[in-house]
Symmetry: C2
Subunit: 223 residues, 2 copies
Amino acid sequence: TTGRLDFSSPKAEIFMSARVQKPLHEQRLETFNDLEIEPIAQVADSYIIARAEDGIWIIDQHAAHERVLYERTKKALINNAPVKQPLLVPQEFEFSLKEKTLIEEHRAFLEQLGFEIELFGGNTFVMHALPAQFAEVDMALLFRSLFEELESGEERSVSPQEKIIRMIACKAAVKFGQSLSVSEQKQLLKDWFKSSERLTCPHGRPVMVQVTFEELERRFKRT
Amino acid sequence: TTGRLDFSSPKAEIFMSARVQKPLHEQRLETFNDLEIEPIAQVADSYIIARAEDGIWIIDQHAAHERVLYERTKKALINNAPVKQPLLVPQEFEFSLKEKTLIEEHRAFLEQLGFEIELFGGNTFVMHALPAQFAEVDMALLFRSLFEELESGEERSVSPQEKIIRMIACKAAVKFGQSLSVSEQKQLLKDWFKSSERLTCPHGRPVMVQVTFEELERRFKRT
């Protein structure tokens, strides 16, 4: 037999310990935006394992966070309300001529996002402020990656503005391989749930792999 | 990009928190019999989720425990060394004529397993002792199930002795739907690891579903 609890049994059959029996699938989960899901562990510092009503969800923490930051950035843009973080010590960047042209070309858009960038002389730029949610991002690396992306011939159908938002979200997102505390895992899942397109990251990769109870029962030959 | 940590970056890019970065797959796991695996949670009171070196393992707790009890019983039988639990108050069973015949037929084998059963008169039997590891099993239910199994025409290739061992292991095993503490989960995994045929329960059903990191990277389009 498959060893399901038989409540009709005259005597409770409990081998390892006596405890209140909860019917299958009825354990209490935290409610996030009307959906019940609870992070149970981070694995390999890269995936968040969660239990949901329908089974086990495995979430790519980087992809989920990219999705969150991407939608937040777009929303701030639509509302024309970026939250700026002024820099006490303005940051200097030395660019090549080509890079200078790219920055000039996209400066108006970067300012809409909350960046304050000023040409200082020659190819030197000074950044006075940046979007608050990206305050911890390595800006030199961000700009290098952004220039590469804008110059590459790939994804011609994607606008430069879209590329910029995706790149910022990617660089600011929690890394694949970064340890998260339980409360950070919860916050990330909570934010991710509010996303309008939860299932993919801005690049179109999946954010979640589901292992449903239905699939498990089939694979364990319980059906 | 897939957001892997770039250790060549001049500045650590940490968004959510600053913490020591551990390379992927190198987190410390408990070693069970030279294999590294750690239970991380019980889900739906039925599955134990564990992290292993190669990924996430989902273990059917009932099937795993059946395997443990089955092999332990066989070993005791081979060593002719059942650990008996005497009953302070002997238990009485009232059987039908057919059942009485079945008990008589298999009594020698049941005694080898550690049962002490005596015909009391008519169709009444008295049990004075039973195998210690099955002390908590509902014996009335066990005998009823055993009679059904022995009389059914199914699995003619399986000997009655084998059927008896499988049935006892099944009835004594932790149920699908039974809550386990963390230490019970650990003990079960530890015992299960010592099994010689870990991958299936005595009935041939799978004990474990693996979700390897390789599979995850493929499904998340990280490869």
